[in-house]
Symmetry: C2
Subunit: 195 residues, 2 copies
């Protein structure tokens, strides 16, 4: 990317990029890291896992002559499932990824009720389902199994805390180390837990 000389944002961007290149994945979004990881898994024939398209309610479409259809009115819809799914070593994989700037806790408001219900239905069918949680300020990413999420979720519905403590995620979840090619190499954790 090129930035005009002396432009502050551009310089900042360059610094960040350099920094992330040298010291890890700081500054990259979790979604981008997961997409890169999934692309690497696909390329190396390790797994077939994709992000689902953003759900959009299409209201108006124009069909201009001699060019592609243009959607001129549409709205974002709330997803009724998780964002990522696919197949790995004959197993169905299904997960949601969430980033928080909070350093001490993960707010449960990040997850929707129907996503939890979806994860429960998947678990009941014998699918492997989990959250990937990134504490972006700490630059730490954890795999948090759905079964443990359910416990916190239902405790919360019965009046317990609206969040999971960072400490708890560290204890009950699994830290995902940064790898150069698989930036969020969650399948190494899945290998240990399920195979």
């Amino acid at each position: 990317m090129n930035y005009p000389n002396g432009r502050k944002n551009g310089d900042l961007y360059k610094q960040k990029k350099l920094y992330s290149h040298q010291f890890g994945n700081r500054g990259m979004s979790l979604e981008k890291d997961i997409n890169d990881t999934n692309a690497y898994y696909l390329e190396t024939k390790k797994a077939v896992i994709h992000k689902k398209p953003t759900p959009v309610q299409i209201v108006k479409v124009n069909y201009p002559k001699r060019s592609a259809a243009v959607i001129t009115e549409a709205y974002f819809k709330q997803a009724s499932t998780t964002d990522y799914n696919g197949v790995y070593r004959e197993k169905y994989i299904d997960f949601e990824a969430k980033e928080t700037k909070n350093k001490t806790l993960f707010p449960l408001a990040n997850i929707h009720a129907h996503q939890v219900e979806h994860m429960q239905a998947v678990a009941a069918q014998g699918g492997i389902t989990f959250l990937l949680i990134r504490f972006s300020v700490l630059d730490e990413t954890y795999l948090f199994p759905a079964e443990r999420l359910f416990t916190h979720w239902y405790a919360h519905l019965k009046g317990d805390k609206k969040s999971i403590a960072y400490k708890t995620i560290k204890q009950q979840g699994y830290f995902i180390p940064f790898q150069y090619k698989a930036r969020v190499d969650y399948l190494t954790i899945i290998d240990k837990l399920y195979f």
Copy 2:
């Protein structure tokens, strides 16, 4: 749905609806039938299988004060995977659904190369992958296993026919009988083939 009195399309619609109600699923789209079937599977805890959202390239979004974000310019993108996936009895399920008005053959132009590649990657991971093909004029729907599609696909790439004969689909595929609640009850075929 209400139609103004005497409106031709409305009357036609009513007739069709009545007809399909009494005699089968003629006149209903394959997509609608599959969505209803998947909803029934989900409700009865038989399987968790969803259609992916239509992939859309979002270009412009307006954020009006006090109301929802409006997408004002977007384009349809070609899907890089199949339309449906999920989990059934611990197995990963992945399929594409296609309807043709042709009575004697299924044109391979209905399928994209990257969809076939995706199905091959899924099969290599031990996922269950197939086509659902409806001959709409005949009102017959078949499950056609991906492995058999691959044979026809690569024969076509080497200069063979651009289509699969209806007769071949009848022989190499599996007829899906119409069920009242699961209108395209493909999992009964999956039970016989894979369990």
